[in-house]
Symmetry: C2
Subunit: 335 residues, 2 copies
DNA sequence: GCCGTTGTTGCAAGCGCGTGCAAATGCTGC
DNA sequence: GCAGCATTTGCACGCGCTTGCAACAACGGC
């Protein structure tokens, strides 16, 4: 670690023959500098390889430009895609993303938020897990903005972005009935996150109003392997379902693979399948899965727009709801 | 933006009835503080919700704890997985990851590195694209460590982590020959990155030494859709190949789907397929793809270990080579 | 020729922190 | 009781930056 490797504004000032303030102002949009001074400063900065120290700037401005992304299982397709959209939007807005991995353990998200505070992040976006209420309060008290995505929390202060999971789940029942299905099933993981449970309850409730029973099965984490296990459970029943709504596409892919290769079930002829998320693989021709597309770009844009919005929590209700878009593919009859 | 939302060491000091230095020392490992003082400081800090300001600390220490991850197409399975492994390892080492999206455009990586300099990142890890030599020099001159993953660059200074792509590609030829294949093909994208080209050249060279011709086809970006297009090109030839090595698993998945569903080709009976990366989908039973596993965890561990290593560029040659591990699955006959 | 106005510049303070230095404190051995 | 030592503590400075303030220059209108 060299002693003083980075070139400072002081050195630029000396080389340009101006004061240190002039250098600062040159790199501060909207500050008052004459064209001639600016030219000399830029020239010297270029020659010396000067870059404004955002750490020091953040110290003065009380605004670091850092936004924390807090997320678990970040390599799953849906999450990875959301992270991509978020970082892109943040960059467009002149912010920069910090990425923090969380796991299932209790204090994990709290720890992440503490890290966000240490780096004086302007905001944190939580894609996974629920932080303790005391921590979110700490963040807000420290002037840090908070965005909760699909967390379905009711506390005031953070921006809450949610999908209308229940309503979407209801549409699936209609689709299944239209396809002539009668023995419905719902395949879920045991994660028990608000969105997953909302899909389950929405589906069961809608089926009930149409007088159809639903077999609900839950297993393990929300991944491909769980989808296979769920298929093994549901397809070995004496009353084999003829339609299954999987809580996510990943579950659906596992389910379809087991159904086809292990149980020789024809999709959609003997079994209709619907997923959720519209991950890239859902469109692959091995699956061609009917599913709900999450408006990932819109979610990211909305979140970032709210973050950079100077007017504080001006807008009364900081809650946004999106309708997922049903994408018809061949895993359901009669699209 | 509230004026002074974060609580400072000063306030903690006042509440604890000690000097500000004492607070600072309490949170500096190895500093000299009496147990009693420490207790009072910790108590006050707890009560006030104090967190050390890492921005200011970075200013003093010339060490921010920030490591930049520079990556394009970050939502593809292989990249997403590498990002996950990296952030996890960084967190374990007490560092934190900044994530920067790049695109195909020329100055994109340079811009990202400039951003890394602005935030005084201790290091940058480049997973995509090649920065201009002048920029990497700028980083090194500023005392910033640099890691290039699969970039196959020869400049001194950065840590270079590479796979032995050519050697691996050679093993594929052997596998194909052993499976009784004679008409080999290589399916590549047009990205032209060093690793992709090394796989292509290694495959062609190995085939040549065994007296077998190879049909090489290149198309588009390195994704699923290109795999489909490549299948359309290669499977409509009068001399249809009976074995194809796809430069990545994503290409292979597209290739297999088109081969099976569009051309009714049986895999592995009529066509053997090998991919590269061992993404999660390669193990899905719709593909069950024979492929090379990149030692993602080891790559991440190696990179982070080198970054946090105090001894500077002590170790003579900063270049690491890994052998990818061939994972046998059913897309090749006679594993 | 003078004053008010506008635009530019340097000074200096301060953001929150780490740390060298010297003073202060506590302890041991005689 | 006191010299000698180790440990702890506070002071004050500086890290690189922004910004309010006052000084200053330029300039047009009367």
């Amino acid at each position: 670690m060299p002693q003083k490797p980075f070139v400072s504004a002081q050195e630029v000032a000396e080389r340009a023959g101006v004061s240190r303030s002039a250098v600062s102002r040159t790199f501060t949009p909207g500050a008052s500098v004459s064209p001639e001074t600016r030219r000399r400063v830029v020239e010297a900065a270029e020659a010396l390889g000067y870059h404004v120290n955002h750490l020091a700037r953040g110290l003065m401005r009380n605004e670091s430009g850092i936004v924390c992304l807090i997320v678990s299982e970040m390599s799953t397709p849906y999450r990875a895609n959301l992270i991509r959209a978020m970082t892109q939007q943040l960059q467009n807005a002149g912010k920069i993303a910090m990425l923090i991995n969380t796991d299932r353990s209790d204090g994990s998200v709290d720890l992440a938020l503490r890290q966000a505070i240490r780096y004086r992040a302007d905001a944190s976006i939580i894609l996974s897990g629920m932080p303790d209420r005391s921590i979110t309060q700490l963040c807000l008290k420290n002037g840090q903005r908070l965005v909760l995505i699909n967390r379905d929390d009711d506390q005031q202060g953070p921006l809450r972005i949610n999908l209308d999971d229940a309503e979407a789940a209801g549409r699936v029942v209609t689709a299944f009935v239209r396809a002539g299905c009668r023995r419905l099933a719902f395949a879920n993981s045991q994660a028990g996150t608000p969105s997953l449970m909302a899909r389950e309850h929405g589906f069961v409730a809608a089926a009930k109003t149409m007088g159809l029973p639903v077999r609900v099965e839950r297993h393990g984490p929300t991944d491909y392997e769980s989808g296979r296990v769920l298929a093994q459970r549901l397809l070995t029943l004496s009353e084999r379902p003829d339609a299954v709504f999987c809580a996510t596409d990943l579950l659906a892919c596992g389910f379809m693979d087991a159904a086809r290769h292990q149980f020789r079930v024809a999709i959609p002829d003997q079994l209709c399948v619907v997923g959720f998320d519209d991950i890239e693989q859902a469109a692959w021709s091995s699956y061609d899965l009917t599913t709900f597309a999450q408006p990932v770009e819109m979610i990211a844009r909305e979140a970032v727009a709210w973050l950079v919005n100077e007017s504080g929590q001006a807008a009364g209700d900081d809650s946004v709801r999106f309708q997922p878009n049903l994408v018809w593919r061949s895993s359901v009859r009669g699209g």
